[in-house]
Symmetry: C2
Subunit: 242 residues, 2 copies
Amino acid sequence: MTVFLVGAGPGDPGLLTVRGLELVRSCDALVYDVLVAPELVEEAPDDAILISRESVRQEELNELLVELGRTGLDVVRLKGGDPFVFGRGGEEVEALAEAGVPWEVVPGVSAMSAVPASAGIPVTHRGVSAQVTLVSGHSASGEDLDFAQLASAPGTLVVFMGLAHLSAIAAGLIAAGKDRHTPAAVVSRGTLADGQSVRGELWDVARLAADLASPALLVVGDVVALAYASESVSTRAGFARS
Amino acid sequence: MTVFLVGAGPGDPGLLTVRGLELVRSCDALVYDVLVAPELVEEAPDDAILISRESVRQEELNELLVELGRTGLDVVRLKGGDPFVFGRGGEEVEALAEAGVPWEVVPGVSAMSAVPASAGIPVTHRGVSAQVTLVSGHSASGEDLDFAQLASAPGTLVVFMGLAHLSAIAAGLIAAGKDRHTPAAVVSRGTLADGQSVRGELWDVARLAADLASPALLVVGDVVALAYASESVSTRAGFARS
């Protein structure tokens, strides 16, 4: 009788939480994002109602969750990453709360640090980065990025969903005063078996990333140039069905 | 024959990843932080070497991990939150990489979004916050916070480990031009059974949080004032030993 917003993590199914897996395994209905690992969808009970979120607009999805929640069934809304980090989970919770449907958020591993980590890059490092700024390349609020403010931010900048606008983002940051030689990386499909990453500097990272697939994260900052960050550490935990 | 840096998540043992739990259950040696849930330490094999990190300085710890790694045993270094988000995991990896010891990072759920979520607060929300800035209240690099830069950042500000300096942080932000009426919350021991939170505005949040215990997170931004954020949603998944 609750709608659980569960973060599925950044891609690798092994990065779902223990609590999240328990909820998927015991749910009555599962509404899942396209980017959620198929292995996780398969963990739902054989007779659970399965609903792919693909091609459902956000407003319709909110309404669907309210309707499902009102039936009294246990509903799991399985979302990529963390529901509250550029996941529009807030809008779903808002609709549920307004309708009086009980809800709970089960946090997930955000791509924010897991995707850079899959390329060996830490978003913080003593003496190198003590601040992290997260933005979305296509802002959920429709606002443009404030390049002047972002260019002045110390530490690490992480841009979600910026692959389509990499050149414009890099150019905007450089025009606003960010050093064009700031180390930068793009990590594509991080934590997945076909993950790839490129490293360069702000001025050339878009060119280097031309062939990468989405979803991808742009990381800008000196952490990209740490010695150990250049080791290949791509791993995929996979998922053993038990 | 690998040292796995595993993120244990923000406190609730149910928020460990599936992959992390598998590694804990099969390790030869487990080195764990004080803040890691005891239930997780109990998941290690009965004959695993257990080492509490308490009262071990970072440099000694790095050395210890190298020594353990060189034995060829599977070592799990279980860290609160995510290893690469203010977790000093980078320093441990650096020591391992320099010594030629194989290492792998298994990301965890960061307190960054999970702790605010435990009080119903999303760090991003369409139309309200499309940017998140993370800093540490006692900077790992020893630098002071750049209040002018932080005060100009749109969206949500999340301050880790800031409980001891709440008044100074709030005063610094207000002095640098941040609206003193900006909604602000402190979430103490978020995701744990004894978690507590207070909400107010930047000018009074330190006073409201006077009795809260660490670890705690300061959240500053309009997301704190969202209607559904005021609902009590504190939950603790707990952990069923299987």
